[in-house]
């Protein structure tokens, strides 16, 4: 869908930049090859973008204007309605909002859009250092030591799905399987509602 939006709006000074927070280029390859994007479609195995923007889940979509300013902070948005029953966030209003932004400069928001990008807390920063350590140890074949640091990262930053769910495929767990449902239960138990409103809730 982002490619279709690029074809529609690309000659008006608009460019989507998609970033896959996957553990390897090969994990993202099937999705990228299927979409065949002509816009930048990047691979972020170290979660650099998650770190710098304080993102705690995917998808996370941010509007950046011509001057490099964030004009609409991160929200969970979807290019299609394929999984709308699960996440409850329709793509249509968002895509129309993007069109309006490109065509008129109007920045439309709704209840899911936070007023600013919250900076990572100290614990979240330590969690990211723990995650990077775990990821390296895992690549060195030290899976047990890695598991301890993945777990520590999750304890320090329990709402960060880029850490907790993002480490599942690395550790040979199914990100749609039992470990995910455990994570989801734990997340709900701490009073979280839906993925779409996560970013806005985080402000409180």
């Amino acid at each position: 869908m982002w490619q279709a939006l690029y074809e529609e709006l690309g000659d008006k000074g608009f460019v989507p930049i998609s970033v896959a927070l996957d553990e390897s280029p090969d994990a993202a390859r099937p999705y990228i090859e299927k979409a065949n994007p002509q816009h930048p479609s990047l691979i972020d195995t170290e979660h650099v973008v998650a770190h710098r923007y304080g993102l705690i889940n995917v998808p996370a979509v941010i509007w950046i204007d011509e001057a490099g300013k964030i004009v609409r902070p991160s929200t969970a948005e979807y290019g299609t309605d394929q999984f709308v029953q699960f996440h409850g966030r329709e793509s249509g209003p968002f895509l129309d909002a993007v069109r309006a932004w490109v065509n008129t400069g109007e920045v439309r928001t709704d209840e899911a859009v936070p007023s600013h990008m919250p900076a990572p807390t100290d614990d979240e920063e330590v969690a990211r250092a723990e995650w990077a350590l775990a990821w390296f140890l895992h690549q060195q074949g030290k899976t047990e030591a890695a598991a301890q640091h993945f777990a520590r990262a999750g304890e320090l930053s329990p709402d960060d799905w880029t850490i907790r769910r993002g480490s599942m495929p690395i550790q040979g767990q199914n990100p749609m399987g039992p470990e995910f449902f455990e994570l989801f239960k734990d997340w709900e138990a701490r009073g979280k509602t839906t993925h779409a409103t996560m970013a806005a809730e985080r402000e409180n």
Partner: protein, 138 residues
């Protein structure tokens, strides 16, 4: 005191640096450590370009045995995670810059490769409206 080879990960890159354990304090060889992190030790303190951080008030930060990694992380505003058994540590980003940028609504820059390895930077798209989409197969 004997030294042990140690690995410090910074921005995904491993740096091999000799280490010593001084009780509970982990010290890494000062010069290679500072070099890996882009700093040099001068009379003014720790310097990078025009910026110097005075360290005279912390005599234990850098000794003959090396630099205290956790304390150095504190001085540089970078979080450190350590695995002593694996002789490996990771040092986080300098988030003060990012925090300040996010607080002002400035989009932090990044450079990342595509599937073919070609690198792209956000900053090269100034003048365009950018839709930044972070996603994952999980």
């Amino acid at each position: 005191m004997g030294t042990t080879p140690f690995t410090l990960i910074d921005k995904g890159q491993p740096h091999r640096i000799d280490s010593t354990n001084e009780g509970s304090t982990l010290r890494l060889a000062t010069k290679p450590l500072l070099e890996a992190l882009g700093w040099t030790q001068k009379t003014e303190g720790l310097c990078r370009g025009d910026v110097c951080i005075p360290i005279a008030s912390q005599p234990d930060l850098i000794t003959q045995q090396g630099a205290d990694l956790l304390a150095l992380g504190g001085v540089l505003g970078r979080k450190v995670a350590v695995d002593r058994e694996a002789s490996t540590a990771s040092i986080g980003e300098e988030t003060a810059v990012n925090r300040a940028q996010l607080a002002q609504g400035i989009a932090p820059d990044f450079t990342l490769p595509d599937l073919s390895g070609k690198e792209y930077s956000l900053s090269s798209y100034r003048g365009k409206k950018v839709l930044l989409i972070a996603y994952a197969s999980w």
